[in-house]
């Protein structure tokens, strides 16, 4: 991962994010989406974004690392396929804006590359909406990069358990989860293998 080979916003992924927080202890609970489901969700969100904003001309899709930039690229190519306009893309790293710096290890995840957002409609894009803290940090980061006309939030999964009053405008799937569980979105271009969304959790014996 270097600035040199990032030919595309968020075009590369650092290796140090590939470890899972449970240290490999969690087991697969449910496979919620397969590749086709995920493709349909992208298509639907793409249509909703264009419908809500009466077109795509002023849009900037800004993905939040790690998987947001890849989701944003998919949404952009879907929009381009049915609207025939190029959609501006950006990638945003929020590490330096997080509210848990010093409380846990925090590492930047990739190069921030955001086009001019002033006066445009920014759609922040991420894979999973959970506590809302990443989205809050993203709003702060965005404020210093310009003054968008409006800011919206698109996520593939809303898994609940918000700790901050933040709501998504576009949701692929609302997924009720336990706080101890882990929602894992896999995208071929980031994670390798097949697309899908899975719920992982501690082995049943620990989770009575």
């Amino acid at each position: 991962m270097t600035a040199h080979d990032a030919a595309y916003p968020g075009g590369t992924q650092p290796s140090r994010t590939s470890t899972t927080p449970d240290g490999g202890r969690f087991v697969l609970r449910t496979r919620v989406f397969d590749a086709d489901d995920l493709r349909r969700a992208h298509t639907r969100i793409a249509h909703e974004i264009v419908e809500r904003n009466h077109g795509a001309t002023d849009l900037v899709l800004v993905g939040l690392y790690t998987r947001g930039p890849a989701v944003a690229r998919r949404l952009a190519s879907a929009i381009e396929s049915f609207e025939s306009v190029a959609v501006a893309l950006g990638a945003l790293d929020v590490a330096f804006y997080r509210d848990d710096i010093g409380l846990r290890p925090v590492q930047p995840l990739g190069p921030t590359e955001v086009p001019d957002v002033t006066g445009r409609v920014v759609v922040l894009v991420d894979d999973v909406l959970f506590t809302g803290r990443t989205a809050r940090a993203a709003l702060d980061a965005l404020t210093e990069l310009g003054r968008p006309r409006s800011v919206q939030l698109a996520v593939l999964v809303d898994r609940g358990h918000r700790q901050i009053p933040i709501r998504a405008d576009f949701v692929g799937k609302n997924l009720p989860t336990k706080e101890t569980e882990d929602v894992r979105v896999r995208l071929a271009e980031v994670d390798g293998g097949e697309d899908g969304i899975e719920i992982w959790g501690p082995p049943a014996t620990e989770d009575a």
Binding site: M1, T2, A3, H4, P14, D93, A95, F96, Y97, I101, G102, L103, R104, P105, V106, Q107, P108, G110, P111, T112, E113, D140, A141, E144, L145
Partner: protein
Amino acid sequence: MMQHLLSIDDLSRADIEQLLELSELFVEVTQRDIPKVPALRGKTVVSLFYEDSTRTRLSFETAAKRLSADTMTFTVGSSSVRKGESLRDTVQTIEAMGVDAVVVRHSAAGAPHRIATWIDAAIVNAGDGAHEHPTQALLDLLTLRRHRGPSFDGLHVAIVGDVRRSRVARSGVKALVAMGARVTLVGPPTLLPEALETWPVEANDDLDAVLPEVDVVYLLRIQRERGAGALFPSLREYTTRYGLTAARATRLRPDALIMHPGPMNRGVEIAAEVADGPASIITQQVANGVAVRMAVLWSLLGSGGPVV
């Protein structure tokens, strides 16, 4: 998590690579309209400078401010050191004010290491005597990397001049060799290190023979304030044999890069037209210094969990 940055010896090749990648991200931050992030809000960084410095001190203070840390400056000229306060008392006084990192420059080799044993704050070596200047080495690597890409394997660097008393050269050699580069020291024997055989480098006293061979020529400052003048017959003689004059620079390969840690003695180790010429990346070294120091301060104060 890094606790101090005292010497390049503390860093593995992977650590250096990670710091350089982080620095690239901070280069982007420094290029924004608002070149500042809130990452180190509430942290205090003190610069404790027992030696004169313009660029290093300003660079660290700029780095701290762009991370939203508070900064304090301690320079010997205007302090209780003038009243005879010891280094240890000074440092403990500063710590009592509640600081998170101390950036130290001192004329005595090892002073930052000693300070690190006295107080809990993170210590950054900003130059200790003729020993080390690790952030200079890192910013030099970053500057090279931004020109040549992330691989240093096989890159041939000539370091020219007063290597013997140069902390820049000491840190630079360690960092370059750790990254896989090849280093040739160039200068008269009186300016090369005494235990040269223990250094992982080649040496040559003929600059004209070395220049066509190298990818980078790194000129060291003739440190007149450290008595460098006693080690060669005259500045004019030095310039004649080791100065990078415009005529001599034509021996370099067309894509070779010219570096200097500053401040330059124009007309001594480097001719003005060479310093300002297209092969010179000297001003980029200064610009990259802020990003590298942001990466170092973030790694020390921001990236980890609570210090227990």
